[in-house]
Amino acid sequence: MATLNTFAELLESAERSGQPLDAIFLEAESVERELPPERVFQIFRDRWAVMKDSVRRGLAGGKSFSGLVGGDARKVMEHTARGDIAGGHLVAKCIAYSIAVLEENSRMGIIVAAPTAGAAGMVPGTLLALAEERGFDDDFASRGLVVAGGFGALVAGKAELSGAAGGCQAEQGVGAAMAAGALTFLLGGTPGMSVHAAALTLQNTLGLACDPVAGLVEVPCVVRNGFTAMLALTGAQTALAGVESVIPMDEVVEAMIKIGEAMPRSLKETADGGLAMTPTGCRIRNELYQIR
């Protein structure tokens, strides 16, 4: 993205060219990679196929490496199949699919990081759920994936996307914001609405600690992907209705960076604080590592 560094520039470019967001991002990536836009899109199509497969494998799979997680995505789907659902099929699938990817990840299965492995659930989970419920084909869903990637790239140009540097807000917060922007795009929102959806979503994850029990990408990471998927859906729903973020997206990203810097190391992936240091968290850690 030679000339695209901020969300403000993105909106300006969309306004000026009248092009959809995916076309703007594809062109920028094409210039950067020195590949034709069709080739770049094909890579996105291929990654979308891997993502869908990771949901499928996740729903079918068993327990994680440690035995702490696994099987929850399937529980949500089975519950949904019985028709006993709190929030409709789209909601249930968003939750189950997002969790499924992370369950597959926890088994050292093949996933697509988006933007990271620990936050890899929301983008495929919500996009696949929406595509199935609305009958979108793989080409159209992959266009949403391009938008998600573009939003993540704009954030990553300013902030390091790792729990170690910025806490969970920098991983799942950004993943949910990417998903929110993509969902809004696929549902016919304007570029402005997509950016508002991302800003509304990201600001509601600010300060989120990265405090994994026993240092594993399992508790709370796996189910959290289902919860933050709901934030992405809320972001899209509100932005499509015309709700705007008072704080512009670029400034929300700046706030996220400053909060990440202010967070103690104990809450940034070291497993030295938060849930990891609760009596149960400590017990699990001790049991796991005595065995090994």
Binding site: A2, A117, V123, A156, L216, T270, Y289
Partner: protein, 227 residues
């Protein structure tokens, strides 16, 4: 400049992009610099890297990279057993690199039958990496793009002759870094290229007077899937 394909990607073996995929890539760079099959590998891990090592498969990923595996190789999770079978001895231990070091830093020493290489790098999120030291020389290297590393004796004309060889091939130099320990002492050059340099030109660089060694890094850490 961040690529969309680095954000929706990499396609990788879980569970952590920085502690599994990034770790594997750091080790892949060390292996590429060694230019032979390693027989011994030592990994020293700082802060978050050390704390979550086993749970994130960092140990397996580092060893997998030393064995030449890619981040999406399903054998990555069996890397420790594969290392034993292939006769690669490895050791992992924590090392406090101080408050300034990136929490996901690792110092890698690989030894092959004829040489040893030391690399210090950090996994900086989403599977992206930065190499910060090669054999004690401070560098800044993503290892995503084609790149040359030259170790040579500090003397006039080396930079000019090297850029001449590359220029004659019609390859553009994207960026360049030249360092030396002292006047007339050991010097180091990093040349980022827009396209890989053909082996015969690399041999010309190796044959230049005063040049001790030339390393070629061609997108070992997640470059564009070009075709």
């Amino acid at each position: 400049m961040i690529s969309l394909l680095d954000i929706v990607g990499p396609v990788m073996v879980g569970p952590s992009s920085s502690h599994t995929a990034g770790a594997c890539r750091l080790s892949r760079v060390a292996r590429a610099l060694l230019e032979e099959e390693p027989v011994e590998a030592r990994f020293e891990l700082h802060s978050a890297f050390a704390k979550t090592m086993r749970g994130h498969g960092t140990d397996r990923a580092l060893v997998a990279g030393a064995l030449g595996m890619e981040v999406d190789d399903p054998r990555l999770k069996d890397a420790l057993e594969i290392a034993k079978a292939r006769g690669l001895k490895y050791a992992l231990k924590p090392r406090n690199m101080g408050p300034e070091a990136h929490p996901n830093s690792v110092a890698i020493t690989l030894a092959g039958p004829s040489r040893t290489i030391a690399v210090l790098g950090a996994s900086i999120g989403g599977g992206m990496i930065e190499i910060r030291e090669v054999d004690g020389f401070p560098v800044s290297l993503s290892a995503k793009d084609p790149c040359l590393l030259l170790f040579y004796e500090d003397r006039p004309g080396v930079v000019m002759r090297a850029s001449e060889i590359i220029g004659r091939r019609g390859i553009n130099i994207a960026s360049m870094e030249v360092l030396r320990r002292g006047k007339g002492d050991q010097a180091f050059m990093r040349i980022d290229l827009d396209a890989p340099l053909p082996p015969e030109d690399v041999d010309l660089l190796r044959g230049m007077p005063g040049v001790r060694r030339v390393h070629v890094l061609d997108r070992v850490a997640g470059g564009a899937p070009i075709t």
